[in-house]
Symmetry: C2
Subunit: 123 residues, 2 copies
DNA sequence: ACTTGTGTTGACGTCCACGTCAAGTCGGAG
DNA sequence: CTCCGACTTGACGTGGACGTCAACACAAGT
């Protein structure tokens, strides 16, 4: 299959796929005419990349997962490096959520305070 | 006072202050030699901007607060537009936290699953 | 033969909040 | 006068994940 079909079936764009290739994330075989040639395996890789980035993973973070699939594992997270990324992301997420929660509380407090000042008179 | 002092006292850099000016956020008067001239009022504005961006507000979001102070109010959030930004940010934060929480749970589940697969054999 | 669709590469644009660098100007101290 | 620090402007870089455009080649359908 060519890049257009892979893009459609993978839920992305040809531009993104060429970009992935430029990062060495998704190298492509070339046909006689120089066009990129992909197979069903590549479609799996694209799905893996998309589902991970969709979750909020950076492209670099998807590399171990893709590598893992390419090594023949049935899932991208069957390798230690992928699991490590999970762990790191989880820690990042926890941290981020905690910080955002604190900020939210702070903004909430400021908002209440501002509202109090604006209508301190009856009711 | 000149830009260097304002930067030091405001806890930022001269580069940032010039950038704020380029955005029309913090216009500066100019002395005879063309140098930017600031006063204590500007320092307050800088503090307002810094404390808001420090919380995670975008520079554009600080505009109503700065404007509010410039209109003579004692706090930047004394104006309706500022309060509106509070509300919007609060909603954004809640939304963001919710989504991140869902992602975290998802990653957690995937992690557990991957760990199960890796050592399904006793203990 | 012609058009349409799909492919190719490369380069530049986007968003955000500045950092960094270059080359020059200005004021005051010694 | 010289030197230093502070100031000026402008241009380019950063990171992430592509979007957009140019200019071209190739294949299939009518």
């Amino acid at each position: 299959m060519r890049i257009g079909e892979l893009a459609r079936r993978g839920g992305t764009t040809t531009r993104a796929l060429r970009y992935y290739e430029s990062l060495g994330l998704l190298p492509a075989r070339r046909g006689a005419n120089g066009q990129r040639e992909y197979d069903e395996e590549d479609l799996r890789l694209v799905h893996e990349i998309r589902s991970l980035t969709g979750i909020g993973f950076a492209l670099e973070d998807t590399r171990p997962f893709v590598q893992c699939l390419r090594e023949g594992h049935t899932t991208g997270d069957a390798c230690a490096a992928s699991v490590e990324v999970y762990r790191r992301k989880l820690a990042e997420l926890d941290d981020c959520i905690t910080r955002l929660g604190a900020v939210r509380d702070q903004v909430r407090a400021q908002l209440r305070e501002a509202e109090q000042r604006s209508k301190p008179c009856g009711r």
